[in-house]
């Protein structure tokens, strides 16, 4: 019984990581209607940047995380202004295929620079520390911290969207870009800032990926799929829904893995398909993709 409770708890906490994967994707979709196929590869890229910051520049993990966030946010801004802006308003084919091309470029660049070896980031005591919840139930400090971060990121984003001028510009541009432009909003700038913000979240996800799991240059697609599934399960446009989606994926993976080690990822995918059959618009849909 406690075994299963432990499994369940681990699954829930794993959901925190998936939520972080998904939030950046959800943000980019929410503001720009962009589904970024290179999203997973950008998470892996952030993990490698963290690795370089720690191992080559010898920064402490927390400082390295700050560096990764800055680098990725700046990269996101440049990516949007330099490349993705050319795909805005040109139907679905153009952004989809451009980001797919970008994904292949990123994977192979990382393969060329960092080799195909699996890597991980050493974070000292944090990796093994655990918190006892009474009885035989213990949870890792790191997974708990990841879940806490995921919730904090969502709260901050909600505040940003509802309470700030920039958030209002995001929502206006998302609702109707042309009208927003007429009201004096520089939509290109708004898109670039949204991408920078999305990449900052990707950076957080990347740092945690580096510490919690081993990663390699070709691990992006899998992370994109998890991110995508969490967004769809939760319902488009709902950040709390994304958290629920992430947890559902995490729990089904943990249960599947417990039944048979080969079924972990498979169970998550099946859970996603099941939700899609039962509730095509996700659990808590806010916007609809039309």
């Amino acid at each position: 019984m406690t075994d299963w409770l432990n499994t369940l708890l681990q699954g829930v906490l794993l959901g925190g990581l998936y939520t972080l994967f998904a939030t950046g994707l959800s943000l980019a979709f929410g503001v720009m209607r962009l589904v970024n196929i290179a999203h997973g590869d950008l998470i892996v890229l952030a993990a490698y940047v963290a690795l370089v910051a720690v191992e080559t520049l010898h920064l402490p993990v927390l400082a390295a995380a700050a560096v990764v966030i800055l680098v990725m946010a700046a990269g996101g801004y440049v990516l949007q202004r330099g490349l993705l802006t050319h795909t805005v308003g040109r139907g679905i084919l153009s952004p989809l295929l451009v980001t797919f091309g970008l994904s292949i470029i990123l994977q192979n660049l990382m393969l060329e620079i960092f080799s195909a070896d699996s890597r991980g980031l050493q974070a000292g005591a944090l990796e093994t520390a655990s918190v006892s919840l009474g009885g035989d139930i213990t949870v890792g400090a790191l997974p708990l911290m990841i879940m806490g971060t995921a919730i904090a990121v969502i709260v901050l984003l909600q505040l940003l969207f509802t309470r700030t001028t920039l958030g209002r510009a995001f929502r206006a541009t998302s609702d109707d870009g042309e009208t927003a432009q007429l009201m004096g909003i520089d939509t290109k700038q708004v898109y670039a800032l949204a991408m920078a913000l999305a990449m900052a979240v990707v950076a957080v996800a990347g740092v945690y990926t580096a510490i919690r799991t081993s990663f390699d240059p070709l691990g992006g697609p899998n992370r994109l799929l998890f991110a995508f599934e969490a967004v769809i399960i939760g319902g488009l446009g709902s950040l709390w829904g994304t958290l629920a989606g992430g947890i559902i994926l995490g729990v089904s993976q943990a249960i599947g893995f417990r039944l048979d080690p080969g079924w972990g990822t498979l169970s998550s995918h099946l859970a996603f398909l099941a939700v899609l059959v039962v509730r095509p618009n996700g659990l808590f849909p806010r916007t609809r993709d039309r």
Binding site: V35, I37, L83, H86, T87, R90, I92, L93, S94, P95, L96, L97, V98, F100, G101, L102, I104, I105, N108, L109, L111, E112, P221, L224, L225, F228, E229, I232, D260, G262, W263, T265, L266, H269, L270, F272, L273, L276, V277, P280, D289, R290
Partner: protein, 351 residues
């Protein structure tokens, strides 16, 4: 496409006053289209006769060229005509390949008879997949197809009956077939699929269904309002494309003779055809042909550079998508108005 005029043909336009009545007709064929048709036929015959005049390496390269071309046409049919971008066509390539293991190796069916069986199986599997996937639109459909492909890969990797994660050999199913016949039959299968995909696309696109399809591609909303049953058209194309990919998958792994889940359900199948179709010209029948030729030429030249070759291809695809979204053949079409397999209807003045 420029013309929205539906059949029947020809159309007579009201005469202009004070001039002799001018007559117009909607035409499809051009002089170059007859050249194109002849070229396709001659190439097909030459390819079919290759086992008598070509050496083994040429036959194998041609086989590979043809199945990649067929795969590209299948993807182009979805992305270029139905407006359905799939990142998961490897699902059906893999299912086709694994049909060889189940029907060929385990049930003892002649391995070349498995090819049509693979098409049927892939189409049958595509029906429930479509049921789930068609709840998603646009980019979400694209990523959804990828999830489905992953599910099939993981299911296969967990099925020890077909060799599990490490895969299995298909050699047992080709024992007793002389090498000459094996190569020849594989090549003919690839010719049927490669040339057949072009020919089928050509005839379908010139029919009224083709007109409807191109309208769907240009605007789902507008074509729906004109009475085209958009989802049904897309559904039929999705199933047809799955069947094609299934048969192609069978041919691919007959020529490879070894199969594993990671090879059969590899994203590389979709990546490759993505490069080919985007660079060659999406939404044209000639584009994928040009793209496949370019792909094989570049691969021959740059294969020593490993990942850099894929980085270069990716960069070219991105630049093409931004600078000339209709690809190289789109440029040819605009610059020279040259179309080997025209599917557009033109309003010509008749003498």
């Amino acid at each position: 496409m420029t013309s929205q005029t539906p059949p029947p043909l020809p159309v007579t336009v009201a005469p202009a006053p004070a001039r002799a009545p001018a007559k117009y007709a909607v035409t499809l064929s051009t002089r170059t289209s007859r050249v194109g048709e002849t070229l396709l036929l001659v190439t097909a015959i030459a390819l079919c006769l290759m086992p008598w005049w070509g050496d083994r390496s040429l036959i194998r390269t041609s086989t590979e060229f043809l199945y990649i071309l067929a795969l590209a046409q299948m993807w182009n049919m979805l992305a270029g005509y139905a407006g359905l971008v799939s990142i998961g066509q490897q699902a059906f390539v893999g299912i086709g390949g694994y049909c060889l293991v189940v029907f060929g190796v385990q049930m003892g069916l002649n391995i070349f008879l498995v090819v049509p069986v693979a098409a049927v199986v892939a189409a049958l599997v595509a029906v429930p997949s479509a049921l789930v996937l068609f709840r998603l639109r646009g980019a979400y459909f694209a990523v959804g197809t990828w999830v489905v492909a992953e599910v099939f890969r993981l299911l296969t990797a967990n099925a020890s009956v077909v060799g599990g994660g490490s895969g299995t050999s298909i050699t047992a199913a080709v024992q007793g077939i002389p090498v000459w016949w094996r190569d020849a039959l594989t090549l003919w299968g690839a010719v049927i699929l490669g040339v057949g995909a072009i020919a089928a696309g050509y005839f379908v696109l010139r029919s009224r269904y083709g007109l409807a399809l191109q309208a769907v591609r240009d605007s789902e909303a507008a074509s729906g309002s004109l009475g085209i049953r958009v989802r049904r058209m897309q559904w039929m194309l999705y199933i047809a494309s799955a069947a094609g990919c299934g048969a192609i998958g069978a041919i691919i792994f007959i020529s490879k003779l070894r199969i594993s889940p990671s090879a059969a359900f590899s994203l590389d199948w979709t990546t490759t055809v993505f490069f080919i179709v985007v660079i060659g010209g999406i939404g044209t029948l000639e584009g994928p042909i040009l793209g496949t030729i370019l792909f094989f030429a570049l691969r021959g030249l740059l294969s020593d550079f490993g990942s850099w070759y894929l980085i270069l291809l990716g960069a070219v695809a991105v630049i093409v998508m931004i600078r000339m979204p209709d690809g190289l053949w789109g440029w040819v079409l605009r610059r020279f108005n040259l179309s080997l397999f025209p599917t557009r209807r033109r309003l010509d003045r008749t003498p």
